[in-house]
Symmetry: C2
Subunit: 360 residues, 2 copies
C-alpha cells in the first residue's frame, strides 16, 4: 500500500505513519530503570554480571531499555536491596536472597542450602522442579519478582592453618563463617566469629582466628589467604550459590511485552553466564595459587566430620520447617528433588569424573 | 517538546512522527528467517530447543524476527544442514557439528570428545577458553557462523545384556555405537555395527547386537532398551554433547544490530536451557526406568577397560592432529584447557559429590 500523505489530514498522517512503520507497531519510548546492587564498585564476577545483563538488555531493545546501576558506595545499603526495591526507591536489585533471612526466613532457600544441590541440579529445580513457583510465593506478597541472578559454583569449605582430622579438631576452633553454615558449625562446637572482610587477612595471620571461609579460588585469590594457610578444604555448605535479580512488580507491569521478555532473557542469560565465568576464573585462580604457593594443599573433611555437619544441618532444617508451612513446603520440595536428581548426577558426571580421575 | 502537527506540511509530519516515536529510531520491518533442523518433527528436547529459541526471538523483537522451522520430514536432509545453510537454501540450522566430520574433520571437536570436558567445563572453554574463536576459524571460511545450540549433558556408555569385567569381554562383542566413539571401540576389538534407530530395539532383543549406545535416560526411555538389557553403563565417549545453531553470514549481516543481539542471546539462552531441561528429564527418566524394571543396574566400566579406551582415544586423536594444523590447534587448546579446569572440578563438585555419596 502506498500512502498518499497529501490527501490526509495531519492527525490521519500521524496514525498512518505509526501504522506503517511497524507491523506490529512497537512501543518506542525509552524506559529508564535503576538497579541497586549489594556489591561495591568494580566487584569482579558479581558486578560484571549486572553490567553484562544491562548491556544485553540495552542492545536488544535498540536503546529503549536502559538500566542505571548503583553500587553500594552510592546507595549505602548493601543489605537493604530488598527494602529499596519493595519501597520503589529502586526498580531492580542484584543481591542474594539469603541476606534477608533475618526478616523473612524462607528467603534463605533460594540461594543455597548446606548439603544441597549442585549448580546444574539447582537450575533444574528452579526451572522444572517448582523452584520459580515457590520463589513467587515468597516474593509475590512483597510486590516483588525474583529471578536467578548468577551462580558462583560450588564454594570451598575454607582455609585452615591446621589439618582437620576429626570433629574434636574443630571444637573450639575460632572460625569466621557467616549465615546458616555458621549456625551449623556452632552446633558442632566451632567458635564462630564474624569479622569484617577487610580485617580477615590480618586476623588469620595473627591467629585471632584459626580458619575462615570466603567463596572460592577466584574471589579468594586477591584476599591472599593462600599465603598464610596451607589447607584449602572442599565445601559442604554452599554446593551452589545463586544470587538474584529483584524487580518491583509495578516496574515490571509498566514495561511493554517485548521489553519484559528482553529483560527476562537478559537476566536468565547473565545468570547462566556468571556460572560459566566462575568456572573459568576458579580454575585459573586455583592454578595460580598452587603455582605461587606450592605448599597449598587441597583437603576434604573426613567422613566423621561430614556426618556431624550433615546431622547438624538436618536438625536445624527440621527446626526451621516447624516454624512456618511455606518453609516446610520449600524444604520438602528441595529435598525430594535432590533425592531424584542426585541419582542421575551419580551415574553421569560423578561416575565419569571418578573413572578418569588420574588426570591430576 | 510538544509537536503542533497542524502547523506542519504532511511530509514534515511524517518526519516529525518518525523522529518522535523512536529515540533512537528503530528499524521496524519484519525479518522472516528459515531454519532447518536435523531432527524429525516433535523431537523432544532437541526440537523443543529450536522452538524455544524462535519463540524468545519473536517475543523479544515484538514480532519483527520470525523464524520458520522445518524438521527433517520437510527438507529430507537431516545431515545436509551444513550445506543447505552454506548454500543459502536456509538461513539457519540446528544440528551437531560432528555430523560433518566426513566433509570437514575439524568440525568434530565442537560437539564432544571422548574423555573430554563435562558440560560446565565445555561452556567455560567455548566462552572463555578460546572455543568460540576456534569455531569461527572452522566455520568462517564456509560463510557460516556457529553457536552453541544446547547440551544433552553427560551421555551414558550404553546398554549391555552381559556385565563387562575386562577388555576381553568387549572383544568381538557386537555393538551399535556410531562416530568417533565407534572408531575407538573398534580399536580395542569391539565388532562395531551401524543399525537404523527404528531397528535397534528388535536387534538387541533378538541378539543381532549384544549392546548399544544411544543418548541418556530421557531419550533412551521411550526406546525401551531397559526392558531387555539389565546393565546401564556410565559413559566416557560424550561427557558433554553440545549441538549447534548455524547461520548464513549474509543473513546475519542483513539483520539490524538489535535483532542480531536478540538472536545471539536467544540462541545462547536456549542452549543453556536445553542443558537444564536435560538434567531434569534424565533424572525423571532414570527414576522411572528403575521403577518399571528393578533389575536395571547401573555399572561403571572397570579401570582396565577405561584405560584401554583412553589409550585408543589418545592414539586416534594424535593421528588426527597429524593431518591438519587447525585440528592440532583445536585438540591442543581443548587438552590444555581440560587439564586446568578439571583440577577445579576435582576439588569442587567431584570432592563434594564423593563426600556426600551416601545419598543413594
Amino acid at each position: 500500500m502506498k500512502i498518499r500523505f497529501a490527501l490526509l489530514k495531519p492527525a490521519a498522517v500521524v496514525a498512518a505513519v505509526l501504522a506503517f512503520v511497524g507491523a506490529p507497531a512497537l512501543a518506542q519510548e525509552t524506559h529508564r530503570l535503576t538497579l541497586a546492587e549489594t556489591w561495591g564498585p568494580n566487584t569482579p564476577i558479581l558486578g560484571e554480571t549486572t553490567r553484562h545483563m544491562a548491556a544485553m538488555a540495552e542492545k536488544m531493545s535498540g536503546g529503549r531499555l536502559q538500566i542505571r546501576i548503583d553500587s553500594s558506595n552510592k546507595h549505602k545499603a548493601p543489605f537493604g536491596i530488598f527494602d529499596m526495591v519493595k519501597g520503589g526507591q529502586y526498580d531492580m536489585g542484584h543481591t542474594a536472597s539469603y541476606y534477608y533471612k533475618g526478616k523473612i526466613p524462607n528467603t534463605m532457600y533460594f540461594t543455597t542450602v548446606p548439603f544441597g544441590m549442585t549448580t546444574p541440579e539447582q537450575y533444574a529445580w528452579f526451572y522444572h522442579g517448582g523452584g520459580m513457583e515457590l520463589m513467587e510465593k515468597v516474593y509475590g506478597p512483597h510486590g516483588l519478582l525474583s529471578f536467578p541472578g548468577g551462580n558462583t559454583g560450588n564454594q570451598m569449605g575454607g582455609w585452615f592453618r591446621k589439618e582437620i582430622t576429626s570433629v574434636e579438631d574443630l571444637q573450639g576452633l575460632k572460625m569466621r563463617t557467616p549465615g546458616f553454615a555458621g549456625e551449623v558449625m556452632s552446633e558442632i562446637g566451632v567458635a564462630v566469629t564474624n569479622i569484617a572482610p577487610g580485617e580477615l587477612f590480618t586476623s588469620l595471620e595473627r591467629g585471632t582466628i584459626d580458619a575462615l571461609e570466603w567463596v572460592g579460588p577466584a574471589l579468594d585469590l586477591p584476599m591472599g589467604f593462600h599465603s598464610i594457610a596451607n589447607y584449602y578444604y572442599s565445601g559442604w555448605q554452599e554446593p551452589s550459590a545463586e544470587v538474584q535479580f529483584l524487580i518491583n512488580q509495578k516496574t515490571w507491569q509498566s514495561l511493554p511485552d517485548d521489553l519484559q521478555e528482553i529483560l527476562r532473557v537478559a537476566m536468565r542469560t547473565a545468570a547462566y553466564d556468571m556460572y560459566t565465568q566462575s568456572t573459568h576464573l576458579n580454575a585459573a585462580a586455583w592454578d595460580k595459587m598452587k603455582e605461587e604457593y606450592p605448599n597449598v594443599t587441597h583437603k576434604t573433611f573426613p567422613p566423621e566430620v561430614i556426618d556431624a555437619l550433615r546431622d547438624a544441618t538436618m536438625k536445624l532444617l527440621a527446626q526451621e520447617a516447624e516454624k512456618d508451612p511455606l518453609t516446610r513446603e520449600i524444604i520438602a520440595s528441595q529435598q525430594e528433588y535432590l533425592k531424584r536428581v542426585r541419582k542421575w548426577t551419580e551415574i553421569s558426571d560423578k561416575a565419569y569424573l571418578n573413572s578418569v580421575s588420574t588426570v591430576e
